[in-house]
Subunit: 477 residues, 2 copies
């Protein structure tokens, strides 16, 4: 029995138990290892390489819009966390408290940052004086801690890696513009690089960030039909500025409060990649985010010349991220490992291929095989990777669209929830009571009021009073 076969057998089928399939994949593809610290995961090299690729490409996107990186302390004194009322109410119940330094008890306890609005506000109140100091467009890549009750790798962990952008602007308009701009950067990145289509919209009052005046979100549909909030962008108005006294002198020499935003994505995105693209053989990585884009697998590699040809091919393909699997495992085992790890293509090359000046390219997503002449291998690899990237986005989009339903009344709503998986588009009066009732009756939450509104009906799906917005509803991670 090859280990490859065994690897595959060990994964639970995704249709049988999606949650277990997910856990199997993150472990068997060696993305993470559980640690002895409750709710904290170890991100292994292959998982971290995916995050590094996200960071590298997204950081360039940020910088292209004028954002600069900084690093803020990881601790927040209790008094600082308490300065903005809504914010502290939202976060205080779920922070880790440092009470002792060395052998001494601290005079004031500090929490490990769950998010850094308060730190940035304190900083901004010291460095912003005049309209010349604006805007401030700062971001940091760091880890944050939230004392979650139940945790899952990448999706919800006590400590997680993320970026948090924090900006300060002279006007409300500018702040709103930046809030939307960063949401667009996120959505564009997810579609272009991760091959995940996003629904952009606004969160309800109930679902918005603690302390924000409005929260925007990108929502993706996972393979099991559930929603994953994949990134958020908040407009704070001047609420934090008033709490932290961040004022500047405008051109007319008058004191004004700044307007602020914050926005973040996290290692959750790795979870999204797994749950949108994965299949029963493991991970499937979009070529643009894959740490290894092609695995060359020599067939009959002990035969003279085969390994040399494989290395030669690797050199020819140096503009891609390519590796040769030259271990002493069997080809079948290597195939299974390459599939489990979601490497976009494998290139099989054996004695007969060499004789015929050809190689076999196998796509990970469709398993389509292409017999390719060595003379045009660079072009073909490039074409296959591009095609696969585009196909993965289209497949995810069509999966989402075919799992999106319309409900005009609660009977329809409950029927869909009971018999199908996916998103429900339904009208809403904007009364929180209806939002709560829907959640209680169906388990679905309001995911967002999408920017692209449709006039499905003129009445609220729940109370039948006049509707204000179409909302995407769904069960969520």
């Amino acid at each position: 029995m090859s280990k490859g076969k065994k690897l595959v057998e060990e994964i639970t089928s995704m249709d049988e138990d999606f949650a277990q399939w997910y856990t199997d994949v993150v472990k068997k593809a060696e993305l993470i290892e559980y640690s002895s610290i409750r709710g904290c995961m170890i991100i292994r090299p292959y998982g971290y390489a995916i995050w590094e690729n996200i960071q590298k490409q997204m950081d360039a996107d940020f910088k292209a819009t004028g954002v600069e990186n900084v690093y803020m302390p990881m601790f927040i004194p209790e008094s600082l966390l308490q300065k903005e009322k809504d914010h502290v109410e939202g976060f205080a119940p779920e922070v880790a408290w440092v009470t002792h330094g060395g052998n001494e008890k601290l005079q004031e306890r500090m929490c490990v940052r769950p998010t850094s609005e308060t730190l940035f506000c304190d900083f901004y109140s010291n460095i912003i004086h005049s309209y010349r100091d604006l805007p401030k467009l700062y971001n940091q890549w760091c880890s944050v801690v939230r004392w979650e009750k139940s945790t899952r790798p990448f999706l919800r962990s006590m400590e997680f890696l993320w970026q948090e952008g924090h900006t300060a602007h002279a006007t409300a308009e500018e702040a709103e513009e930046r809030t939307i701009q960063m949401l667009d950067v996120y959505a564009d990145f997810c579609e272009r690089v991760l091959a995940i289509p996003m629904i952009k919209g606004q969160k309800s009052e109930k679902e918005k960030f603690a302390g924000a005046s409005s929260t925007y979100t990108i929502e993706a549909m996972m393979h099991d039909g559930k929603a994953l909030q994949s990134g958020t962008s908040h407009n704070f108005g001047d609420g934090f500025a008033k709490a932290f006294d961040i004022q500047y002198t405008d051109k007319n020499n008058k004191l004004q409060y700044v307007h602020q935003t914050s926005w973040g994505v996290s290692t959750r995105l790795v979870g999204a990649i797994i749950m949108v693209h994965g299949d029963n053989s493991g991970l499937v990585l979009p070529p643009r985010i894959a740490p290894i884009q092609a695995m060359i697998i020599p067939i009959n590699q002990k035969k003279e010349g085969v390994l040399d040809k494989a290395y030669e091919l690797k050199d020819r393909l140096s503009s891609f991220k390519v590796k040769v699997d030259d271990t002493d495992k069997s080809p079948g085992w290597k195939f299974s490992e390459q599939e489990m790890r979601g490497i976009p293509i494998r290139i099989e090359i054996g004695p007969r291929d060499i004789e015929n000046n050809q190689a076999v390219i196998v796509r990970r997503d469709t398993r389509e095989k292409l017999l390719v002449s060595m003379d045009e291998i660079e072009t073909k690899v490039s074409e296959v990777l591009d095609k696969m990237q585009a196909d993965m986005l289209e497949r995810a989009r069509s999966h989402r669209d075919s799992h999106t339903y319309i409900a005009k009344d609660m009977d329809e709503f409950e029927d869909i929830i009971k018999n199908k998986t996916g998103f429900i588009k339904a009208m809403w009066c904007k009364d929180e009571a209806c939002e709560m009732e829907i959640k209680e009756r169906t388990g679905a939450t309001s995911r967002c009021m999408p920017f692209e509104q449709e006039q499905i009906d003129d009445k609220c799906v729940c109370c039948k009073k006049p509707a204000q917005d179409m909302v995407y509803w769904g069960k969520a991670y």
Copy 2:
């Protein structure tokens, strides 16, 4: 009065008060801002950009030696920290303790990592089983916390950014080889990129890392003659492996303990750059680490065509990191800012220069002015940057060498300490009593036993018993 002049006036002279000069530079060059958390600094965009450049280039150096990045939890349960006796004794007095999560008291308190040996060992004991699993060459970029009594930006702060490499090997030889290899990577990086020459050597038993069997170090001399330990590489032997039970089955099917190493550099390196290269006008950055390599400063920029020419020049120099200072400040002010921020060269371009098809390049370190024809500006900029990089290294080396003295007895030793600043080379018997006595009498500590030994004398500088090693001694940060 131009603000430029004022900026310069505000710096303390380095000969008058080096510590105050340092503090002035980190603040005025906008590298850091103090935070309201004791001993924690905010790294501002310009300071963080230097660290990003260090990370980017050093990370590539690591990866070229087969190292892979991971991410480990930031918390260490108390019982895990206590597993290796020397290690816990070294670190427990200076850690931050988390005792509460949300509103609940933890059953076992956890510290914020001061370093992650214990976490990596716990991880390795789970994933290493066979000789096929070795070596493991892992690294992480993260922040760590040490409850320091007195702190200084970049040099010693409660929280700081660093990388920590942790490797596991089948044999003692392989571990020792890796320990030295990473020290070489550090020293080479510092010379090549930061223009800081390093003395490579071994730490004494007293100065070695808590839990290590041997510690190697790179030591640099700052402008004030003091030493800065700039990076360390530790060989743990199998001490941690025994404490954490990290065993593998070798080729003969026998259980063996692994041999481990760890190695790290931190944002301290930014402090080293400041203190080795800075002058009374502020920072001086080596071209290879500078976030901005050239600042184009238009002269008489309101005159038609001047700004256009400046932007045109920027486009032509796009293979360098170039900016145009097109603010409405005066040229003198811009010059001072460029000098304060240590931007390697400025390029002055005014109406007469345009007429004569030329520009003026001014080197930050020597202030040398070069009148350069526009026809060869790319080549000249490249030459000047290369020359400056090389000159800075040579200047630092000759400063160090001319501030390194030999002492054959304690009278000479004390005389040098009293009247000069710098390193002292002296022989040592390897008895800790002498090391302690020297420290008490002179304030100098043993920096390292350099790999390049010299036979200065055959007797210990202190006790006159037979000497074993030549040691570099010095006052240190």
